[in-house]
Symmetry: D2
Subunit: 311 residues, 4 copies
């Protein structure tokens, strides 16, 4: 359970005060506004604000004066067309803001997406909580021997126990020493009134990449989809993928038409190369093509066959 009673009370208060607005409102997203949607063992994703909806995409594409209340089917058709033809700017007209709690190593992948706004909890200024990520047994993955960036199966038995134990004990020790160096007791009082304590900006060095941090993260709908297409992908590390999956669900609540187009064209689609298209054409014409005659490398051939369901 990631939230303290005080935090939950703040959330409840924020959820208890509806106010009238003339802006676009999305009831399905308001249902979960401010709520902490759990991810991993101590993390969460909270939607804390949003601007616009599916209709705002249409409105921007048409540079119209009103809400652009055409028929719903026309809105859907236009949104599909815009995504298919890479007309991305209308999707930049919607904006969403999240509060996310996440392990530092996940944060380090995430921050590589530069077209977003970020305010992170500062460990120069404040003291981090004693919370770190420990993979569930089914995610304690072994290193792949064929793909240097991949996982292969799961550690089991004594090896799994040993790894889990090391991760846990090292994190506990790191935190204990972090507090000792800070000269900071759990009650907020100095451990030793005679000592000054190491500067927070230095003491944080002792914490490992498994500790949780948190940030406000805000982006537009286009860049959200770009982020999700990379991070809700099978090549992404499981831990960031877990966040992306929860965020895909918030996208579905927020802009259902755009979400469907995203599933159809981005997540569910695939890009073929010039040679790949030529191969499909040959196969459709009845020709038998194998890797040797394809003009593709072995790896590219495998990827194409997987796309075509022939693996």
């Amino acid at each position: 359970m990631p939230l303290s009673a005080a935090q939950q009370a703040e959330i409840d208060q924020a959820r208890g005060e509806p106010r009238p607005t003339l802006r676009a409102v999305v009831p399905a997203l308001e249902e979960v506004l401010y709520a902490a949607l759990p991810v991993l063992d101590h993390g969460f994703v909270r939607v804390v604000d949003y601007m616009g909806d599916d209709a705002a995409v249409v409105q921007a594409a048409r540079v119209s004066y009103g809400r652009g209340t055409k028929k719903v089917s026309e809105d859907r058709g236009l949104i599909n067309y815009l995504i298919r033809h890479r007309h991305t700017t209308p999707f930049e007209m919607c904006e969403i803001k999240y509060h996310v709690k996440l392990p530092i190593f996940v944060a380090r992948q995430w921050i590589r997406h530069r077209t977003a706004n970020v305010n992170e909890y500062s460990a120069r200024y404040s003291i981090l909580d004693n919370e770190f990520y420990l993979p569930a047994p089914e995610h304690l993955a072994a290193q792949s021997s064929t793909n240097r960036q991949g996982r292969a199966g799961v550690l089991e038995g004594r090896e799994a126990a040993r790894v889990f134990d090391l991760l846990k004990r090292d994190a506990e020790l790191a935190y204990e020493h972090y507090m000792e160096m800070l000269n900071e007791g759990e009650d907020g009082q100095p451990l030793d009134p005679e000592r000054s304590g190491l500067a927070r900006e230095l003491a944080r060095m002792n914490l490992s990449l498994g500790f949780y941090t948190q940030w406000y993260w805000k982006t537009d709908l286009h860049n959200l989809m770009h982020f999700l297409s990379l991070r809700a992908d099978s090549h992404a590390q499981y831990e960031i993928c877990a966040y992306a999956d929860v965020m895909v669900d918030t996208l579905r609540r927020w802009c259902p038409m755009t979400h469907d187009a995203f599933q159809e064209y981005a997540l569910g689609g695939a890009r073929l190369s010039r040679t790949g298209i030529a191969i499909v054409r040959r196969m459709l014409a009845g020709e038998t093509v194998d890797q040797k005659s394809s003009g593709l490398s072995a790896r590219e051939w495998r990827e194409l066959m997987a796309t075509l369901g022939r693996d």
Copy 2:
């Protein structure tokens, strides 16, 4: 009057439907939401959406769970501190979206600010209206002879009349020929049913930079202030400054504390160079400093004396 009856009806409809939301709401901005605030002879600025408020800046700076309802004076103090010390990221957590109608030469200056989202009315796809900018007599400025980029006084008498007449007639002629090349009558029917008409994407070439275009333009609070600090400045061209002034007023409605800090530190402040600071210190110590002994160029000296009210 820049709006047609149909456009005004769309705006009225959008303003007539308040709905409940759990998000931050700013009543002073909702008062003018969707309304066309007039600028120049045919232009306008419309706020069409916003996200966040002064409290959201504080909330992001503190990465807090709730609205951060500390004392108002603390919020103001923190906002002042953030701006003074260039902690700009919390201001990126608020977002605003405008619908703007503006002459093309103004749009060309404006678009240079890249950290914004834009959807412009497409003259490849649609036909532009017959609206162009004609400066009011008090803005028909003469070229400065000392500053190649500046204005000096106002044209008067016959010269003013001649210039006004040229601008008006050339624009009218350009539009008439634009429609003729398009083979497009005012009633939407072809002028000549036998002709095909020039492609819209080519015909627009005949329109001049004084014609009006329009766009949706969305940016965050930090980048809005950066834009306004450059464009509500005395060095900016009058015509873009006219837009910036109206937008400063929307900023005042939206985030009054941030607006005050913006006036105090950005618009109303000034930057001193290392040498400039040394000069002020010498002067405060009672020394008489002139340009020769200052170490500054004549131009820099004039700029410093203007800042210090000694010109």
Copy 3:
């Protein structure tokens, strides 16, 4: 011929002074460095600087200390892999700078690509030259009646002559009046010593979108390819496409491996939707699929059939 003798002399001088450097050097690009590659009737593209080469992409992907002198075939394989899997950041490590002369309406499309650096010739500060774009007869396109954003055939005979004449005369008139309002003779002397002349920043309003402007434009290899994939595309307007085509050729000289991957995966490839992939799988399994049974709209079906060479 777009260059004056003085301009050509400056280019010749720049080309006449090779100097030693320890940086990566690309002889094939140095061959055309600074040269004005002609585009349209008065425009050009000049490569004025570059940083990095194909090997620098590999070097960045490996975060290596030296030049990464692996086998050339390995470099090519890695570059293909990076592009195929959207690992775009190594391509951001190369940079190129162009000097471009282009019609204003082309500049207005071009500037929408925000991830670039731009310095444009200032008509607030300087006087624009008397050069405007007139389409060659084979590009005097008619408006498409089916695609509002498209061209359909070419104007001919009297209509072509009339349109050409209007474009030419209106531009000449606009320029003549521009100079009159500026009170500026061709010799740089005032037309009338008694008049002050309209401010340059206002007089430019009278020029039409067909006049040429120029700018320095700098971007990285990844964003260059993104720009070219949109603007060297068949949906782009012919006039901007003409620039993109010349720039694709400079890409081929600069980074030939990346260029080949760009042709294979970006320009020559295509994206299939989830449904599109399912259709291809059904067809490969021997099923006959038509639009009705496909689950696609008529338009999407046409696009898919075109990709598969079945239109």
Copy 4:
């Protein structure tokens, strides 16, 4: 000594092969090109490529055809003018690329600057080296009791020894267990041939924020100065400031005129608020102003007095 023999050999090789180019060359920067400039105990900054020089700034500001070989004093005057008046785009026309080795907690501050290109060494893919940052005694700072984000003095005696020991031992232990979980010996062989080893992307979790990472980092001259103005500042954490100081020196070699303007207007200058200017004017007019009559908060008053050398 941060470099292995193999790494040094790669650098020497790169430095041994001058080649002719027609581009701008900066001999003072070529002198240190590729060399590892040491920072902290194991870090470095290497300039690995650059584009442009002071003259390229001038050239872009003038959109000129040649090198713009005006008088040197004119170039300097223009560069000063551009910086003073926030005409930042000409400085975006120069680009520099660094290879940096730095502690992860420094990398996490650094990456917040988004207008740069980054390729970081991947601990998903590769194994990190056993190198971590230990502050020198004079940088083992105590936490400030007045400024939550600040340092106050240095830890001494037994406390310093204890802290240093904890940092060192925890890092050593973390690395030992990292290798054990990876099942990776120092010789690159498995520790235990029967075990599979934890996935690298998970094992890295056990490393602390003091471990070194490395990346290629590329930015333009304007954004470099913005980064340096924030990070070579007295409010920045010492460890990132150490990197910024070395980079300021590379800036001095690369673009000496821009460097001087940067020192004069950015690093050495200060911004006064509207009220601050009014106070200076009052003081120059002979009035005695104290905090109470100033209209400033106590903190702002202290900051202003420090700027004016009256603290």
